[in-house]
């Protein structure tokens, strides 16, 4: 049992934020897969599986970043984090949005 680094529990709250973002992704992926599987078939299932994998990765990241941040804050008082994972996450969200836009435009033109 070790005490938290910060009485405001900033590292813990950030870790939980990663977890709930992963949950939101899993949920959104499940709902979108369920709603589009009639029209998109295997494509919808594949995208849903990718979303679940990304959600699991985010939940894992929550733990990894928590441990690294805690260790570094104890050791040197600074954060080891940088923007790499954030850039990847943001790019993934842009890809999801683009795919959704294609789906809607394709639906308007085709059906």
């Amino acid at each position: 049992m070790t005490a938290p680094v910060d009485p405001g529990l900033q590292v813990e709250r950030t870790s939980l934020a990663w977890t709930r973002t992963g949950l939101a992704l899993a949920l959104a992926g499940a709902v979108v897969t369920r709603l589009t599987v009639d029209r998109l078939g295997a494509v919808a299932v594949t995208l849903g599986l990718i979303a679940v994998v990304c959600a699991v990765a985010m939940a894992a990241l929550a733990g990894v970043r928590y441990r690294r941040a805690t260790a570094s804050l104890r050791h040197s008082g600074t954060l080891p984090n940088d923007g790499t994972v954030l850039a990847l996450a943001s790019a993934s969200a842009l890809a999801v949005g683009t795919a959704a836009a294609v789906f809607v435009v394709w639906g308007m033109l085709g059906a």
Binding site: Q10, A17, T36, S72, D82, A93, A101
Partner: protein, 145 residues
């Protein structure tokens, strides 16, 4: 304490490899994006963590907006194809904007904190309010007309 960082064992042959001005504990590893980390001083870690949570909140907002747009289209709600498509498109465009805002806003805020300058204004928030109102109105019109 077996999980401590192994950066302590490099004290023998590291001659002035470069900038050790603000964080000597970084092991010389350059942090991405350089644009943010090349300038200023390390802010209070609590502020960086808060910035990270704000980033994640925008990401969730983006997901919710995109899911809303896809759901409208997939459920055929409202039935009027024109209004439905327009509303779905508005929500998805807002979702894309939110994903962009997540990253660029994080960069701008982290950068401002490192320079000790005022935080950037939340410009996309206004766009989001107008956009969501427009999307909801489009759905409403689609139901009424």
């Amino acid at each position: 304490m077996s999980s401590g960082r192994a950066s302590g064992g490099n004290g023998d042959s590291v001659d002035d490899e470069g900038s050790d001005e603000n964080q000597g504990s970084d092991g010389g590893r350059s942090r991405f994006p350089r644009r943010v980390y090349a300038v200023g001083n390390e802010p209070d870690p609590r502020f960086s963590l808060a910035n990270e949570r704000t980033f994640l909140a925008w990401l969730r907002t983006s997901l919710a907006l995109v899911a809303a747009g896809v759901a409208l289209e997939a459920l055929g709600f409202p039935q009027s194809a024109g209004f439905r498509g327009a509303a779905a498109f508005v929500f998805i465009a807002l979702g894309l904007a939110a994903a962009g805002r997540a990253w660029f806003g994080w960069m701008a805020t982290e950068s401002a904190m490192r320079r000790n300058s005022p935080l950037p204004a939340p410009a996309v928030g206004f766009l989001l309010v107008i956009g969501i109102a427009t999307g909801v109105l489009l759905v409403a019109f689609g139901l009424i007309l």
